[in-house]
Amino acid sequence: MTLAQDGAQGRAHDNAQGGARDITPAPVIAIDVRGLSKSFGSRKVVRDLSMQVKRGTIYGFLGPNGSGKTTTIRMLTGLLTPDEGEGTCLGYNIRTEADEIKRHVGYMTQRFSLYQDLSVRENLEFVARLYGIDDPAAAARAMVERLGLNGREEQLAGELSGGWKQRLALGACTLPNPQLLLLDEPTAGVDPKARREFWNEIHALAAQGLTVLVSTHYMDEAERCHEIAYIAYGVLLAHGTVPQVIAQAHLVTYTVSAADSHVLMQLGDELAALPGVDMVAPFGSSLHVSGRDRAALDAAIAPYRTRAGLNWTPSEATLEDVFIDLMSRAQDNFQ
């Protein structure tokens, strides 16, 4: 499908909606950007980034701190102008149609950005009024209900716990019924239970047809996404479903365990120095030893496989292995 058609569909879809969210039948592309770059001063923070996100999917945007996730999301909303590159969000040009994007995209910033000195209800009503919702009070009440914030309506947003704050922020950006949600590290610093509930909410929204782009630096959250992209040093290093990303890495991995953790640590240092071993990562009471070239890896570890007290088993590379490997390779190239 050409981009023009894509854009037209995005708009047609809009007009068709009378108030209720409908489920888009065809896999239309919600985010489609090519070659985005952004520098701050002389530092290039995002390099030649291209990304496609299908409608109705939960897209995980993973990467360590400072890798350019927030900067990319800001370019998608029109809050930052890319130095290079083009693209559309819901069919609207990110350079020229920021006003339209603002109407249809819910953006939850990394830093809590509701008014701390406004109550839960007042914050929601403010958003409802800004988007011209007919009965702001009713819309806010419904959202309070949905978020399970009953009884806390009059509490100041600044006095909520971290988990509740994030839920409220999510509520505020879904209130105007956006078609696309951009969530920037929504679960950072939130306890595991609240994190789980938050993800349940994201899945419930996606089930209604919303497209969700979530950035995170928690590896385990990748498993909750339909598709993921991994970014480091401003470069998008891999994307696809989790099994695809793992397969693309072509990592051969062995797990080695030993009774004595001291021995294991020393072994790790030795192995990491060998040619053919690309990565050694501690994994509970064992080590993951990986290499991109099976023959080279096997040759490197051969002397150790027969050593007494060590227990070697072939295993699958985990997503974390893949990311650490991708990052170390990127480090060689970009740092």
């Binding site: 029109g78 920021a98 910033t109 009503e125 988007y131």
Partner: protein
Amino acid sequence: MTAAAPAEPSRASRRGEFWRRSYAMTVKEFIQLKRDRVSFAMIIMIPLLQLLLFGYAINTNPRHLPTAVLLQENSDVGRSILRALENTQYFKVTHVVRNEREFDRLLANGSVLFAIEIPANFERDLRRGDRPAILVASDATDPVAAGSAIGALNGVLQTALRYDHGIPETVLPPFEFRTHARYNPAAETSLNIVPGLVGTILTMTMLIFTALSVTREIERGTMEALLSMPITPVEIMLGKIVPYILVGFIQAALILSIGILLFGVPLLGSLSLLAMLSTLFITANLAIGYTFSTLAQNQLQAMQMSLMFFLPNILLSGFMFPFAGMPVWAQWIGEALPLTHYLRIVRSIMLKGSSFPDLYFDTAMLAGLTLFAMAVAVTRFRRTLD
């Protein structure tokens, strides 16, 4: 989708959205103001404090002012007049001097505010019906203090010698006071100060309120979310200015009521005209403060800009020094300051009873300054985070 996002919004619905979003912003600002105890206290405390502080200086009825007396002759009538002067309670004879040098010295070094000279041959001239004059020299550096005491002299003229026989009956008082205001001959009246205070207090508080509004959103991290929602710079500006127009209005009412009730300042002109033009002046300062807010990098810078703007307002507007007495370059700067025009407006309406046509120029200047500030604010407002 939302009701507010039809495919091709008509012009009317665009306008409806404009007001709805400005209203959303206004409600939000009101709630925040309500929660902000310090700002709330400032709205009431600044005018009260300023009025009380200045009130000390504008006490229009200071009593027992130190007075020196130079008696060139020693006569009963002279003593009667001095007693009558002291009976007014305004004068308190603290020094009796013997020569003019001492008389001048006491006045010059501030030991006394008044020096009264009863000339030689005063009683003789009085009985002859020659209407001799008593010299009353006053230190007019503080015209406020001197003003009412001099006013009291008139009463003394009529009554001092009422029971003294042997003085020819005439229509005119038998003697006169020759008053001589030293150091500040064109003494401004104290009534100038209260109207001036309305202007300075409003300038100060209005500037500070809006100067912090945009930088505060940036520093608290709420600006990013605001920018990602469909609200325009003009709507944000209106939403942030409107609540404070009401605040300014309350302040102006407070100061004026105190001025009128406590300090007896007259209101000769129309109250509704004064209210209307005060609103314009309030808006002008809010717009200027808001402009600083869009130019400043942080709240501290915004405060500094406001102070930098506040100083010339105080010094060059005619509040501190008579406008006509300033050098031309200073007058040009003064013309570009809203306080200058408001002072003319408020003084004219209150003290001279002027009507709108007298105030066209100053009104137009205020409106022009407001629009200019708003235009700068809207163009300088950063719509992206670049």
